[in-house]
């Protein structure tokens, strides 16, 4: 909402120490920041980048799953997967709307995704090789996303927090449908169980990388925490996710592919082995197995849809003109 008035507006604020201190005091008092409020330019830029990236992730995330809609093994699975992919599209739209309240247009954001300036979650640059991957994505990828998104419901920026509340309400079905798929395979034939294990082996590390670099290496973390855009650090969220997920894997009789994973009584959580950050950065920078396909698919959708957008605008214009002509008679 409100974005129309902000589009093209100069987002710069007078950033005197007094202004910044007053803004921080509002944030510290847990007052929500709304679109027309004064805010530091850095706060606005951070949110535009983060919400845009989040929206792109929802939209690009439709691709690896949409890949399996026609091959879902039953009508029940197909209906659920269709609904899930439709939800992801909806989530992308809630988030684009939230970002637009900060003075960026949908078109700008789309162009930045297509020309590579804007990022999306690197997890979607991995391929969905088997049906088990659809289960694992729901269980692990949506599970990790929920871990990230629940604290975002309390983000200091009102429109983002409100969008996240809607998203989180809808997302828990995604994780449960995924877990049910993996559970069915894990309880099936030895071949089916092996499919589930193979899928877990491929998705585990990319999933725990979704929380981003370690706190010591995270360039945006401190300021985002101070502005209450983020409520927990990357490592805190990753720890919560691992602690919640390990027992779920044990229940299925599947093995997490980390030989160093073990319960640490003292900290009351699991210790895990080293994460391959070289792979993470390779994938973020667009060298993931499917990066080129993903952006190419978005670009094709955008280009192929151009005549539709033009025709719809022309039709609206024609109707408007006809109405004016009738009114003038």
């Amino acid at each position: 909402m409100y974005s129309q008035g902000l589009i093209g507006a100069d987002g710069r604020t007078e950033e005197t120490p007094e202004f910044l201190a007053a803004f921080q005091a509002r944030v510290d008092a847990e007052q929500k920041i709304e679109p027309n409020d004064d805010m530091p330019e850095g706060y606005r830029r951070t949110l535009v980048r983060q919400i845009g990236q989040h929206a792109h992730s929802e939209i690009v995330g439709m691709l690896p799953e949409g890949n399996w809609i026609t091959r879902a093994p039953s009508l029940r699975r197909k209906a659920a997967l269709l609904a899930k992919v439709q939800d992801e599209g909806g989530h992308g739209l809630y988030l684009y709307s939230a970002a637009e309240t900060l003075g960026v247009t949908r078109k700008q954001m789309t162009e930045e995704l297509l020309d590579g300036r804007a990022k999306y979650s690197s997890i979607f640059n991995y391929p969905t090789l088997s049906w088990a991957d659809i289960g694992t994505i729901g269980w692990l990828v949506d599970g990790a996303a929920i871990m990230n998104q629940i604290p975002l419901c309390r983000c200091s920026y009102g429109p983002y927090a409100r969008a996240m509340i809607r998203v989180c309400k809808e997302e828990s079905f995604h994780q449960r449908q995924g877990y049910e798929i993996v559970m069915t395979l894990a309880r099936g034939t030895p071949e089916q169980k092996a499919m589930a294990q193979d899928s877990l082996n491929r998705w585990w590390w990319p999933s725990i990388m979704m929380f981003g670099p370690h706190d010591a290496d995270s360039q945006h973390s401190d300021q985002s925490m101070a502005w209450k855009i983020k409520r927990f650090t990357n490592d805190e969220l990753r720890q919560k996710f691992i602690d919640a997920t390990v027992p779920q894997a044990e229940f299925l009789g599947l093995t997490i592919p980390d030989p160093e994973l073990k319960w640490n009584e003292e900290k009351g959580g699991y210790d895990h082995g080293p994460i391959d950050w070289d792979e993470f950065w390779r994938v973020v920078k667009g060298f993931g197995p499917c990066a080129r396909d993903r952006v190419a698919a978005r670009k094709k959708a955008w280009d192929d849809g151009e005549w539709v957008r033009e025709a719809a605008l022309a039709h609206a214009e024609k109707r408007r003109a006809r109405k004016l002509a009738v009114a003038a008679e």
Partner: protein, 93 residues
């Protein structure tokens, strides 16, 4: 593409007896497409029985800096029922 596809604000009434509440916004070329998109984006789980779409440009918003001039109960306590002393014998009023 030349023009931007206009932005619409979406309001939904969860059920009869309640007022429409703002739920978000979307882009659509005209009111017919806006209503259809609102149904797809904002009512996938029976969120309501009535949808309004309003061109965002048609909304006039107040300036948050002027909010101080809105009614402030602290200064106009005589607008509150408890400002007036009524003896207990009179009963609930």
């Amino acid at each position: 593409m030349t023009g931007e596809v206009p932005l619409w604000e979406v309001f939904i009434r969860p059920r009869n007896g309640l007022s429409h509440k703002h739920v978000g916004s979307l882009h659509a070329t005209d009111e017919v497409m806006a209503l259809q998109a609102a149904r797809d984006v904002y009512t996938r789980r029976g969120e309501g029985n009535s949808i309004w779409v309003v061109p965002s440009a048609a909304i006039t918003a107040s300036d948050p800096d002027q909010a101080g001039e809105n009614f402030e109960p602290g200064e106009k306590i005589y607008r509150h029922p408890t400002f007036y002393d009524i003896p207990e014998q009179v009963g609930h009023m």
